[in-house]
Symmetry: C3
Subunit: 392 residues, 3 copies
């Protein structure tokens, strides 16, 4: 593809390069950096198509950001095009099956990068701002590790709710417009549902939702599906038992949404009566042709499933009804008895933290996948940072 067609591509996509990202993208071709293999794969055929992205809010005119430098490869492992345009990560539902596969492929390459090299420099020179309006050390450390494992750096704030400016009444939008001037990507956790969407609508740089209140936590949903594929080897045709607090857990709700994108999936809901899966998810699954079933027999479900996905009964949801909490909490425990009936290839997953809903003696069983699941969060986040900052 010639320079002329490159320009043509740009105009087709109404895209003009943001000077900074363009410069950085060029740099990766000049320097002998890890991702320069993207180029070497296609000595004559590659083209840096600068995709249109989000409108920045500079007062002095309209500026378009290059969201991704896409490369046509001789033998692409997945098709590239408009549908893979990834500007922000806001909710689990935004991903179609093909995009999920593409992300998982990048995540697998991240396992190699994290495990085998003396440290990637892929994101050298990039700054991620972790803007956490409520503390979540696990999620924050996972994102920050992902960024640093790729050679990037981090501006961190653990408790932006006490951010003097937010406390003084500054809007989220104003905060975002300031922080976007200091960084290249924003990872935000917020206490209000919908906050991530508002941030993304404002920001001229990518935003990743690291959880917004009772709303979405899309990277957790992605890592859950990625873990199922890594552990079981497939997603079509799987049998998943969702166990525990299905009413309040955003994790299981998002997971149900994503599983609906695959074929011949069957989901079992096993939960105390007070925290049953809500009707909206059940209706959604039915509308998508996903078979589901409620059961009160964990042993039977465990014997049939590929994945037993246990969750914590959240005490904070029960208020003063401690007796209800205690009853719910003890009802479904994954222990050695459950392991005994589980199939050899099946796994136990859990979003963590766990209390005693999985007994500690389960940990040493090879089917206990929850710490590997936590580690997969690192690979998924590395993959998202890579794709959002450098493109596919």
């Amino acid at each position: 593809m010639s320079a002329a067609s490159l320009l043509f591509s740009c105009s087709v996509h109404v895209g003009v390069s943001h000077p900074k990202l363009a410069a950085k993208s060029s740099a990766c071709y000049l320097l002998n950096q890890p991702w320069s293999h993207l180029k070497s794969k296609t000595p004559f055929g590659h083209s840096g198509i600068l995709e249109k992205s989000k409108l920045s809010h500079k007062g002095d005119g309209i500026v378009w950001r290059a969201g991704a430098v896409q490369v046509e490869t001789a033998a692409p492992s997945f098709s590239v095009g408009q549908k893979f345009q990834l500007d922000d990560v806001i909710e689990a539902q935004q991903f179609d099956r093909e995009t999920l596969n593409a992300i998982f492929e990048v995540a697998r390459s991240m396992e190699t990068i994290e495990g085998n090299s003396s440290g990637s420099q892929m994101l050298k020179g990039y700054l991620m701002a972790t803007l956490f309006y409520e503390p979540s050390t696990r999620t924050r450390l996972s994102f920050e590790s992902a960024m640093k494992r790729l050679g990037g750096d981090v501006l961190t704030t653990e408790n932006a709710r006490e951010f003097s400016s937010a406390a003084k009444g500054e809007t989220l939008e104003d905060t975002i417009r300031t922080v976007e001037g200091y960084s290249d990507i924003i990872v935000m956790r917020h206490f209000e549902s919908g906050a991530a969407r508002r941030a993304a609508a404002t920001a001229s740089i990518p935003v990743i939702n690291a959880g917004d209140g009772p709303g979405q936590h899309p990277t957790q949903a992605l890592l859950d599906v990625y873990t199922i594929e890594r552990e079981i080897g497939k997603l079509d045709g799987i049998r998943v038992g969702l166990v525990g607090d299905l009413a309040n857990g955003r994790t299981v709700r998002s997971l149900a949404y994503l599983l609906a994108k695959y074929e011949d999936v069957k989901i079992y809901f096993v939960s105390p009566e007070v925290v049953k899966m809500k009707d909206d998810i059940k209706e959604y699954l039915t509308s998508k042709g996903v078979e589901w079933e409620e059961s009160s027999d964990l042993m039977e479900v465990a014997s049939k499933c590929d994945v037993v996905y246990q969750t914590r009964i959240q005490k904070e949801r029960f208020g003063e009804k401690i007796d209800l909490y205690e009853a719910a909490r003890g009802k479904y425990i994954v222990n050695q008895d459950v392991l005994k009936v589980m199939q050899k290839h099946a796994v136990v997953m859990h979003p963590l933290p766990r209390l005693d809903e999985i007994t500690v003696d389960v940990d040493s069983d090879p089917r206990a996948a929850y710490f590997r699941q936590a580690k997969n969060g690192l690979y998924i986040r590395m993959a998202l940072l890579k794709v959002l900052l450098l493109g596919w």
Copy 2:
């Protein structure tokens, strides 16, 4: 200049190189790093004059720190010499007009570095400690971004007031003597006026005041003046309207001090009666020959000014007098009506955070300069870090 004269320069300035800084300075000549152009400009004429700096408090003898490696260029864009010696940044008043110009010139070069390259390594190997005794996420992130954009790294503490040692009664001086052993430059925010000066008097490494109580916030003042120059194209002869809380805002007070260094400046004060500009500033301006005027007509002032500098009415200053606050707060709002009377080249500035003293619909007007102003804070802080650690 020969080696002999180099030594002579050193002895004239009673300066002996601190081993570390000297080593780092040499390194920048050996490596092909961004600031090595300082050398290439002057193939025969350069001289690394090691300036005297602050006395370190090592018990085992007197050690002088090299504050800056100054370079005589063939065609210097500003004269170098003792007056540019910059050891610490403590208050706005410490800068004369020539030093301001020199800092702004460095800041402009920082715009290029931040915007166009794949990341500068100018400050690689340097560590900045952000010692914040009260939280200020905006200021902290701005400094930390500045340091990291130049390849440096950061030790951060968001809430040093709860620093176990400060809580146990350790003096600021003892804290500084410990922290200076771990870092190359200290950026400090403190709740007490004068704390930055005390820290600088103790430290053998540079200290930047990032706000000390009701006292100074010099980097805000610098970025304000820099923004006026960038937006309006000049500082001599400008007309500036200061609007809002002029009694309590350290920002407008520092800005008034700095504007007095320029020629033919006129300042309008527009504020509710309860938060009028205090007499000390008015007297200072008069003594410096700066014209000023109080007005209650924002529309008239806005129509005449190059800069409308709006500020937030600070609720926390009114205590229980909520009615006074509410009256003051609603009095002068920058909105579309104000924009209509403003000149085409004029701009609206604000130190942020804003509440509703500038309506959101102003944001999309090209004359809304406040987010660009926030971004300029990054360039000013990059410039100061560069000058304090590497010299001009």
Copy 3:
């Protein structure tokens, strides 16, 4: 030594390389990095013996980590072998005299690295997680500076006690298994005695105890002994006066343990009656043949000692007995009078923070070693990070 014998060594030590550490170790031979002198010293004689280390908790099988790549040098300055295997730093007592000497030798080389170069890249690509369950800014910044001075990077959490997961009831073990997936080494401070040992038993990566409640703070003990050797030039035969709160200070207790490893040491205890050194330490010293003596005469002790080690009377230990605290606090002050009777070569040490138990006018005396002591903490921590991550 041939490849065969290398394999043999591995099997003897039941060690199989962890892919990541092995790759990183190889990298240091390929790249021309600072520690490649380890290789160049022994062109034919070196062998990368991969030592057995801790069992990781991966469910999918047993993985052995390479704790250190040991190198046989032509003229080793200390013997290498199993005894130098350092997996974790948990308590002062774990170190024998030879290991202490070896650590101090590395620490001395760190003084050079920190002071003279443009920044080491020895630990480039490595991530340290500072997991602090109670805030201790001084210790945290010291470790983070150490890591960054060696080119490594840091994931930091200042207040892991409010770690949402710990607050929700997650065990320390589960937290460690998550964090070890994000980092290469964990530096932990905890409010419970024994927590560091539990963390180390769980983690498949090295753990450094940065203080666990009233228990151990081994890096403080190491830096104290290192400072005595640096200041006095020897450890055998020294006379040390421990002054102040000897009952509650873990510092002086650990120091007493370590001093017992040297010959002909004499220790003087000088403390108010309410905070006397406890019997367990006295008995330990006696059992090790260390002479000790209690005294109420600070002046006489100061005149005899090489080291006057002053400590803070900890107000928080006295509860409501403020009068007892005030009496204890004022009893033994190191001031100009004490300096007058001290020998010329002797030094005053203090773990910091200090209140008024050393008067400020002592600071300018060359024998005031406490800020140099704080700086030595940096070198000791650099040394430990280097040894734990790269081996000797």
